[in-house]
């Protein structure tokens, strides 16, 4: 069971998720403090330590549009959030898979802040409203990276293989 901590609209850009002026902060251990830095309520909620891992942000289409900045993923990964959106922008989707941030594409999702969701790979059940919504699977090309536990682990395996040490 996971609670929706915030509901956002369409085209949430990486400038909104992780404002450019904090881009000099790069380490995944340091970026979470600046998640949604210009949204005092959401930023404050995340930093309050009252948000359990697995909590959900629900958004519209094209979530994560704009910059390739990976901080926009690592800052959310730091809170172990799940993002359920009607759609994701390409680079944000790939970065999230690479870093292990859980994204679920649900084109018809209907949920409000405070709703309780049950999120599985192929559907999202809104337990508050009783409605169930189908999820779109990840691009097949990226599944191998998820299975390996992220891109660093995947690449490490390939590097060792190439060196004859696998």
């Amino acid at each position: 069971m996971a609670q929706v901590i915030s509901k956002l609209g369409d085209d949430v850009s990486t400038d909104v998720i992780y404002p450019g002026r904090h881009m000099a902060t790069v380490l995944p251990t340091e970026t979470p403090q600046f998640a949604f830095a210009d949204n005092a309520e959401l930023n404050g909620k995340l930093k309050s330590k009252q948000v359990p891992p697995g909590s959900v942000i629900v958004a519209g289409k094209n979530f994560g549009c704009g910059s390739s900045r990976e901080q926009a993923c690592s800052c959310l990964k730091g809170y172990e959030l799940t993002i359920v959106a009607r759609g994701f922008a390409r680079i944000f989707l790939q970065n999230s898979i690479n870093l292990g941030l859980r994204l679920v594409t649900v084109p018809d999702i209907e949920a409000s802040e405070g709703d309780e969701l049950e999120v599985t790979a192929d559907r999202v059940l809104n337990k508050t409203t009783g409605k169930s919504f189908a999820a779109v699977p990840l691009p097949k090309a990226r599944q191998a990276i998820v299975d390996a536990g992220g891109l660093i682990a995947y690449t490490r395996k390939r590097v060792l293989g190439a060196a004859g040490k696998a």
Binding site: V26, N62, A89, N95
Partner: protein, 427 residues
């Protein structure tokens, strides 16, 4: 096959690929800017516990250009830049453009003007506007820092799904004071911000054939604002001319062009002669309106520059409009040439003098205020009119401000009046 299908087939050692295939193309050029600091961190992580010394697959294929925060605005940025400089020296990366007045500038201008991008190449960059380099008949796309660490380690882009291609055919001449920026803003408005997500936009038609590489870079640069993986212009005489005359490339330049029976997801036709100046209104790039809808909007800051519109023809267009006149009181105008080379050419041509005498502040080459990290921040309630590429809430550093996007001609004409002004009135 389309241009990108041909490039991916060649780079993956296959005779043919089609949209939806998953390939591992060899990378010809891997570009990063200051975020190389994070790439270095992730690259080191890859080798942790392996007993192997971190080794870049081919240092000659890496380019690193400092542009986002130059000169450094904070000790943190300066320390990131220092870390990258040390890494560059240790690994023998020759294509490194530091903070310099002779060879520095914005990555998406440095790559083309130095001949680093060639037709048929697979180019990846840790910047979303890496789409720009499709202007030179390459497949060029943005990736994250961890993905770049993987490229540095392996020399391939992992698990690339061959994208569908949207063909855009443009005919007719532009009206005076209308150009490539208006065309791409119009197209982004048409497609919407996610309309080309996971797709390539391939540009065709007589208007594109007549367009300089500078204009083609504008189109491919902003293709990402419709979500595109890349924009691409099939190579032609202009591609070769640019590489020879501007980039100084002497070796053969084989071009990649699509097959006559290439498979396009859809075809969009645009008559350029019907376009008027276009404005992207706050706070999304696809909120595009003809200039008539916003004429007279008060503007506090004009910005001319960025990887989108900081090239010599952009600065020349602004200088012609401002020459002998004055920027309106109450409006400030900032100009950022896209590279040091362009800055010097603009000096030689007298454009910089024209702009400064009119009241513009000409800054050093770099990303400047475009992404709100460095300089040129907006005050609460202020409005910017900018030739840059994004107008997201908070983009120029202040969520309580607004950014409108436009061509250099609109920006310059509006600088004279302090309100959004149609450049055709004085044309």
């Amino acid at each position: 096959m389309t241009v990108v299908e041909k490039i991916l087939a060649r780079a993956s050692g296959r005779s043919a690929v089609r949209a939806g295939d998953v390939v591992e193309p060899a990378v010809d050029l891997a570009m990063s800017h200051e975020n190389a600091a994070l790439v270095v961190n992730q690259f080191t992580e890859v080798f942790k516990g392996t007993g192997l010394k971190p080794k870049i697959w081919d240092p000659s294929k890496i380019a690193i250009i400092f542009d986002h925060r130059v000169p450094a605005e904070s000790p943190k940025t300066a320390s990131n830049q220092k870390k990258v400089r040390e890494f560059v020296a240790e690994h023998g990366i020759a294509r490194f453009h530091d903070i310099r007045g002779d060879e520095g500038g914005i990555c998406h201008q440095i790559l083309p003007e130095n001949g680093y991008v060639r037709p048929g190449a697979v180019v990846v960059g840790t910047d979303s506007h890496t789409t720009s380099h499709g202007a030179l008949d390459a497949f060029s796309f943005g990736i994250g820092a961890t993905e770049m660490a993987s490229v540095w380690s392996l020399g391939v882009a992992l698990n690339v799904e061959v994208p569908q291609t949207i063909k855009v055919e443009v005919s007719g001449p532009f009206a005076p004071a209308v150009g490539p920026k208006d065309l791409i803003l119009h197209l982004v408005g048409l497609l919407t911000a996610e309309g080309a997500n996971f797709r390539v936009i391939e540009f065709h038609g007589e208007t594109i054939r007549m367009m300089s590489t500078s204009g083609r870079l504008v189109l491919c640069n902003m293709s990402v604002e419709a979500g595109a993986t890349s924009g691409v212009v099939p190579g032609d005489d202009e591609t070769v001319r640019y590489l020879r005359e501007v980039a100084g490339v002497a070796d053969p330049v084989p071009l990649v062009t699509p097959d006559p029976d290439a498979d396009y997801e859809r075809v969009i036709k645009i008559d350029a002669s019907s376009l008027v100046p276009q404005i992207a209104c706050p706070h999304t790039v696809d909120n595009v309106k003809p200039i008539g809808a916003v004429l007279g909007t008060k503007v506090h800051q004009i910005v001319i520059g960025s990887c989108t519109n900081g090239r010599l023809d952009d600065i020349a267009a602004a200088a012609r409009i401002l020459r002998g006149k004055k920027v309106a009181r109450g409006t400030r105008m900032l100009v950022f040439p896209a590279s040091s080379r362009i800055y010097q050419q603009a000096l030689d041509e007298g454009y910089i003098g024209d702009l400064m005498r009119a009241g513009a502040v000409v800054m050093n080459s770099g990303c400047g205020p475009c992404l709100g990290v460095h300089e040129g921040a907006l005050g609460d309630g202020e409005v910017a009119l900018s030739t840059t590429n994004r107008n997201f809430k908070g983009r120029m550093g202040n969520p309580n401000s607004e950014v409108y996007l436009c061509s250099p001609e609109v920006a310059a004409a509006s600088a004279l009046t302090g309100v959004i002004t149609d450049p055709r009135k004085g044309a």
